[in-house]
Structures are given as structure tokens and as C-alpha cells.
């Protein structure tokens, strides 16, 4: 991270911290949801953007994370904050295990296999044998955590900061993973698997670990989202969620960490804006937005910002060298 980037990140965090005091509880809640999506998108981007494995089933890990948190809180009376790492670990294991057989699948074949995963999980959650824990189609109602008294915050503000903390933590973790040796290995596997292997990269272990870590991110996001919504039910995690995550990642920008935030804002707020423009065909409007975005910024919001920054920075640096 160079100096400019560090300053940028610091400003972004400061701004994010100020927001709940300016905005109402409802908007704070929406932003909390956007932060949850941002974490999931970071995870998905690691897998698809950096490692080139397409997943249409990340909604499943979102669901597993959400249910892990919900069940631990509901059945075992765990504190909400303690459930997050567990949700992450459960998804890490689940993702790694799914990643192993998925190794043999490339590109679209993997996409279809993960699609099956995304489709199956909501039904598995309704299964009779699991009903005792998952509540079947009734879902699990979660009690919303209170803010500690010394903070003087209300529930929504507290939950926002709690989520933001995880975002910052996972953001730096992702930064460190992806900007270093491991990140280069992932990109090498994406761009030229044979060359990567020839250079001594263990593609198999890298690929399934990426799947695991990516699932960990998404699971943490799911757990945080479930706590914010106070409810987890199979209907919350339909295949549409997986597609939404994919859309968010592409709109935000593939292979970019900051893209997760733009994508999250897009998937959180665009449906609402579309709904306000037309009640009759909100998804048509959504489609128009989506096509517009893809047309105007084919490499996502992050890609556009990168291009703009280059246009501004390159002439400046040229002047300096002269």
C-alpha cells in the first residue's frame, strides 16, 4: 500500500465511521446490509476475479454462515460476536471440501456445479432431519444484540460499527493475501494454469484453499447479515442471492478489492431505486441499469476509477520526471 492509497483508505474509514451519526436508523441498517454484501463480494472476487473460478452458488455459503450464527444464538445461547468466527470456520471447511472435487471442473462446468449447490442448500435447510435446528421453512428468529452501554449507541448504529470492524479486518486480510506472493500465484493460475504449475505452484491446493477462504468471507457476511435482519429462513437464500452476488462483483469490478464496496452499494440500492421508478416492472428498470453500467464501465466501477486515476496521474508524473 503506497502513501496515497493509505490516505485514501483512512479517509474512507473515517467517512464510514461518521455516517451513522448523520443518517437515520433505517439507512444505517441498509448500509450495514451493504457492508455484509461487500464482505461476501470480497470473497467471491478472490475466487472469480483473482483465481478465475466462476461460482454461481455462493448464496449457499451465505446461507450456511447465516444459519450457523442463527442456530448457535438460538439453540446454544451464544453471544452474537462469538458466532462470527465459527460461521467463518464452518464455511472455510465447507468451501474447501467443495473445492476439492471442483478442482476437476473448469470454467462453465464449475459454474454449473456451483449452481447446483446454490439451488440445493435452501431445500436442504427445509429437510425434516434438520428441522429441529433450522426451524424448517419457519426459519430462525434471532434476537438483535444490544449495544454495550458505555458506547451510548443504539442497536442499528452498534451493529453497523460491529460489521464495519469485520469489513476493515477482512479488507486488510484480503489486501495482504492478494497483493503478495499468494495473490500473484492466484492470478498466474487464472491466466495460465500450466505455466503456473511449471513455476512450481501447487495449483490443486491453491485452488481449493481459495475456494475455502472465499467461502469463509461469504459465511462471515451471511452471519453478520442474519444478525442484522434478525431472521434466517430458506426463502432468504434462493439462487437469486447467488446471482445477485455475481452481479455485484461484476458491476463493482473483477479482480479489485475496492470493487466489492461499489458492487455492494449497487446490489443494495439499485432494486429500491428501480422500485421507485416503476412499480410495474422494477426488474426491467434494474436490467436497464445493469446494461447501462456494463456499457459505460465494462470493467466495473473500480475499473473506471482506475482508468480515470491513470488519466490524471500519468500526465502529472510525466511532468515530474521532466
Amino acid at each position: 500500500m503506497n502513501r496515497n492509497q493509505a490516505i485514501g483508505v483512512a479517509i474512507a474509514i473515517a467517512l464510514a465511521c461518521a455516517l451513522p451519526f448523520v443518517l437515520g436508523n433505517y439507512t444505517t441498517f441498509q448500509l450495514t446490509m451493504a457492508l455484509c454484501y461487500a464482505i461476501a463480494l470480497m470473497g467471491l472476487n478472490m475466487l472469480t476475479g483473482y483465481n478465475g473460478q466462476i461460482s454461481l452458488g455462493h448464496g449457499a455459503f451465505f446461507a450456511i454462515g447465516a444459519y450457523t450464527a442463527a442456530i448457535l444464538m438460538d439453540k446454544a445461547n451464544w453471544a452474537y460476536w462469538a458466532t462470527i468466527p465459527v460461521a467463518g470456520l464452518v464455511c472455510l471447511v465447507a468451501g474447501f471440501l467443495f473445492g476439492l472435487p471442483a478442482l476437476r471442473l473448469e470454467g462453465l462446468y464449475l459454474a454449473v456445479a456451483t449452481l447446483a449447490l446454490g439451488n440445493a442448500v435452501p431445500q436442504i435447510l427445509k429437510h425434516k432431519g434438520l428441522e429441529h435446528w433450522t426451524g424448517g421453512s419457519m426459519g430462525v428468529v434471532i434476537i438483535k444484540p444490544e449495544a454495550p452501554e458505555w458506547t451510548g449507541l443504539n442497536q442499528d448504529q452498534w451493529l453497523y460499527y460491529f460489521t464495519l470492524l469485520w469489513v476493515v479486518l477482512l479488507f486488510f486480510a484480503a489486501w495482504n493475501i492478494l497483493r503478495g506472493r499468494v495473490g500473484r500465484a492466484l492470478v498466474a493460475i487464472r491466466d495460465h494454469p500450466i505455466a503456473a504449475q511449471a513455476m512450481g505452484i501447487n495449483t490443486a491446493i491453491y485452488k481449493s484453499l481459495t475456494f475455502g477462504v472465499s467461502a469463509l468471507y461469504t459465511g462471515v457476511a451471511g452471519a453478520l447479515a442474519a444478525i442484522a435482519v434478525q431472521f434466517a429462513s430458506p426463502d432468504s437464500f434462493t439462487i437469486f442471492l447467488s446471482l445477485t452476488l455475481l452481479i455485484g462483483m461484476v458491476v463493482g469490478g473483477l479482480a479489485s478489492i475496492s470493487g466489492a464496496f461499489y458492487g455492494a452499494l449497487f446490489i443494495q440500492f439499485t432494486p429500491n431505486i428501480a422500485d421507485q421508478i416503476s412499480k410495474a416492472a422494477p426488474w426491467a428498470i434494474y436490467g436497464v441499469f445493469l446494461i447501462g453500467f456494463m456499457y459505460l464501465m465494462p470493467s466495473g466501477v473500480a475499473g473506471l476509477i482506475r482508468v480515470v486515476r491513470h488519466k490524471v496521474q500519468v500526465p502529472l508524473s510525466r511532468k515530474e520526471t521532466r
Partner: protein, 401 residues
């Protein structure tokens, strides 16, 4: 590029600002603000017509001067039948739009997701568009009110009818794998317990997101059952009725639950000839039944549809249903006598006494009290004769006599 972006921003800003401008304008007058979420998109979007009719209805009420001089502002939002989206939209209605009450939010999972929240916030959560039995729990959830005939009561009515008329029946049941399906099933099982439980020889479930129920029907047929209870929502009810007929099963007693009993949206697509002798319970009039051709309430409803909600389908039973609930809401608002505080709206919703609406079947009246938050608890059996539902037997009360 700059111009484009500026334009885009302007359009975006206008889009975001539009609803607020509207609110500011509306607040200049005296108004009562209602909110609801509806599945305008997603797997249950067929029910979206209910919300559309409500909006047309209150537009008409406002045009005629409102309720006791107050305008009714109904804000209807799409939740796509997804619980997290419902939570988000309901929070918007409560915290940003400051609605005085919620009206007919649709769907069992959606309402489950907001059940605690609205009760903690003390927002009247009126006449939810689902028949789950849990909405009538005035002790633990004093702000929530059901509307539909409770699913359990409906199930009990069917089971009692079977016990009385076909004591040796072998019953196969198809139900939606959620609260709604299990609730009707629970009603059936409440009656058929002990050694009677053996009468149920096969059960099959399906998911709302499934494309068809074909394979379930074949499984049920293979059980050798002679009685079929079809606990499904419209799309699947139509598929099931058609499949049961086409597969050559044709059980002598074929019951379809009220949710999937619309002639227009279920029996017609299933094939009217394939629906002969199907039995259901009803509590409101059927739009296609010639008995009600010149019925004043039906004429009033048709006039409303023709004038205020022209894009609505007059063959869709949901539109009759929505008209009744809109009228019940209107009645509740009238009983507020101009005081639209949340407490008073709740009190008014608890004091509906012997309210009758022309579209409800004769003999059925709506009653609520501080302990009874289930407005409808009566229904009548009816059989389809190939053209229309023919009512038979008496109006059966709660607990199904």
C-alpha cells in the same frame, strides 16, 4: 461524457427525491398513512394484484373525500417474497415514512420475519394476507391481526368431512413445504389422530421454487389412495388438478384447498372438465359463479374493477379477496373516528363486531376482540360442477362443527 453523467445524476436524483416530494405534498392535508409489502416480483408475484387493487381502492376513497375527511395514503412496496427484503422495506415504512399502520403485508415467511419487530415498535400489523394460525396470538403479539380463514381450521373442516362421508378413505396429501402447507396439514392431522391417522397413506411436498409437481402426483397416485387433498398455491394447484386427471388417477374425493380454488386462475388453466367434482371450502363469493350474477355486491365490485382497476383480471379470485380486505380496512379506519394514533387504530381493529360484507358468503360475519385477532373463522364447503362452485352444507364455524 460529462453531460451524460450529469444527466444520469439528475435522473437518479429525481428518482430518489420523487417519493419524498410526494410525501411533503401529501402532508399538507390531513392523512392516515398505511404501508404494505407485496410480492410484485419473484415466485409469488401472482399475488401482486392484491396490492394493486388496494391502491386503486384507496385512490377511489380519496377521490370521494377520504375517511372522515382524512386522505388515505397507502405506500405499497415490492419485497419479491424475500424475507430480508421485507425487513428492509418494512423498516423503511416504519422509520422513514412513519406509517400509522401496516395493512395486508403478504406471505407467511415475510410476516414471520417482521413479526417481532412490528410488535416491539407497536405498529398495528393489520389483516396480514396469510392464513397461518400464529397471527391470532393477541397475548404475545398484541399488534398483529390475521385475516384469512385460518389454515388449520380449513384442514379440520376437510378431515371432518372425510370422516363423515368416507370413513374408510385412503388419503394422499400434497402440500407446500412451508408454514402454510404444514398448517393445513396440521388441521387435517388434528382430526385424524390415533387409529384414524392410518387413513393418511401418502404425503408429498414441493417447494415454491419447483417448476412442477408432476413427479409428486405420480408418487401419490402409486400409493393407491382414493382421496386426494391438494394443499397448494394457484400455479401448483392447477398443475396438480390437471396431472391427477391426465394420469388417470381420478380419486373419487378430490379436495383442493381454498388458496388454490379460483376458477379463473386455477381451474380454467387446469381444464374445467378436469376439475369436475373437486371440493373446497369458501368464505367469499366466487366471481365466476352465475348465482351471484346479479348480486348487488358483485355488481359493485365489477363496477369498481371496470372503472378503477381496469388492468385487473376479473376472473382472479385474489381481486375479490383484496376488495373485501380493503373494505375491512376502510371499516377499521371509520371506527377510528378521526383519531389515527397507533393505539386507536389497534383498538378499532379489535372492535369489529358482526361486520358483514356483500362479497363474503351469506351467514359469514367478521368479528374481532382484544383476545381474538382472527377476523374470519367460518366457511362453507362447495363442489365444482364443471362451470362453477356449488355451495353445499352449512356455514361451518371455527373448530369446524
Amino acid at each position: 461524457m460529462t453531460l451524460n453523467r450529469r444527466k444520469t445524476l439528475a435522473i437518479g436524483a429525481a428518482a430518489v427525491a420523487a417519493p419524498y416530494l410526494n410525501t411533503v405534498y401529501a402532508q399538507a392535508k390531513k392523512e392516515v398513512k398505511l404501508g404494505q409489502t407485496m410480492p410484485y416480483s419473484g415466485p409469488a408475484s401472482a399475488y401482486g394484484t392484491i396490492g394493486k387493487l388496494h391502491q386503486a381502492f384507496f385512490k377511489k376513497v380519496n377521490a370521494e373525500g377520504g375517511v372522515n375527511g382524512a386522505m388515505v395514503n397507502l405506500i405499497s412496496l415490492d419485497d419479491g417474497y424475500s424475507p430480508p427484503k421485507t425487513v428492509e422495506q418494512i423498516r423503511r415504512l416504519v422509520e422513514q415514512d412513519n406509517v400509522d399502520a401496516l395493512f395486508q403485508t403478504l406471505g407467511t415467511p415475510s410476516n414471520s420475519a417482521i413479526h417481532k419487530y412490528v410488535n416491539a415498535k407497536k405498529i398495528p400489523h393489520l389483516f396480514v394476507a396469510t392464513g397461518a394460525t400464529k397471527w391470532n396470538d393477541a397475548k404475545n403479539y398484541p399488534w398483529t391481526f390475521g385475516f384469512n380463514l385460518s389454515y388449520q381450521t380449513e384442514g379440520e373442516i376437510y378431515a371432518k368431512y372425510i370422516l363423515k362421508n368416507r370413513p374408510n378413505a385412503k388419503i394422499a396429501i400434497l402440500y407446500q413445504n412451508d408454514d402454510y402447507g404444514k398448517d393445513v396439514l396440521a388441521g387435517v392431522e388434528n382430526v385424524l389422530k390415533g387409529d384414524k391417522a392410518k387413513m393418511i397413506v401418502a404425503r408429498a411436498t414441493y417447494e415454491v421454487t419447483d417448476p412442477t409437481v408432476d413427479s409428486q402426483i405420480l408418487t401419490l397416485k402409486a400409493s393407491g389412495a382414493d382421496t386426494f387433498i391438494n394443499i397448494t398455491t394457484p400455479k401448483f394447484a392447477a398443475q396438480a388438478i390437471r396431472r391427477v386427471y391426465d394420469s388417470g388417477w381420478k380419486p373419487p374425493l378430490n379436495i383442493v384447498n381454498n388458496v388454490g380454488a379460483s376458477v379463473g386462475s386455477v381451474l380454467t388453466p387446469a381444464g374445467l372438465d378436469k376439475s369436475v367434482d373437486v371440493i373446497t371450502v369458501q368464505y367469499y363469493k366466487d366471481e365466476s359463479d352465475p348465482t351471484w350474477k346479479d348480486d348487488p355486491a358483485m355488481l359493485e365490485w365489477r363496477a369498481f374493477m371496470g372503472k378503477h382497476y381496469t388492468e385487473g383480471n376479473v376472473l382472479d379470485a385474489s381481486n375479490v379477496y383484496a376488495y373485501i380486505t380493503a373494505n375491512l380496512m376502510l371499516q377499521t379506519l371509520k371506527q377510528c373516528n378521526g383519531n389515527y394514533s397507533k393505539d386507536n387504530i389497534k383498538k378499532a381493529a379489535e372492535s369489529i363486531k358482526n361486520w358483514k360484507h356483500g362479497l363474503l358468503l351469506p351467514g359469514i360475519s367478521v368479528n374481532t376482540s382484544a383476545t381474538d385477532h382472527a377476523p374470519i373463522d367460518q366457511a362453507q364447503l362447495s363442489k365444482f360442477d364443471g362451470k362453477k362452485w356449488v355451495l353445499f352444507g352449512e356455514v361451518l364455524g371455527g373448530g369446524a362443527g
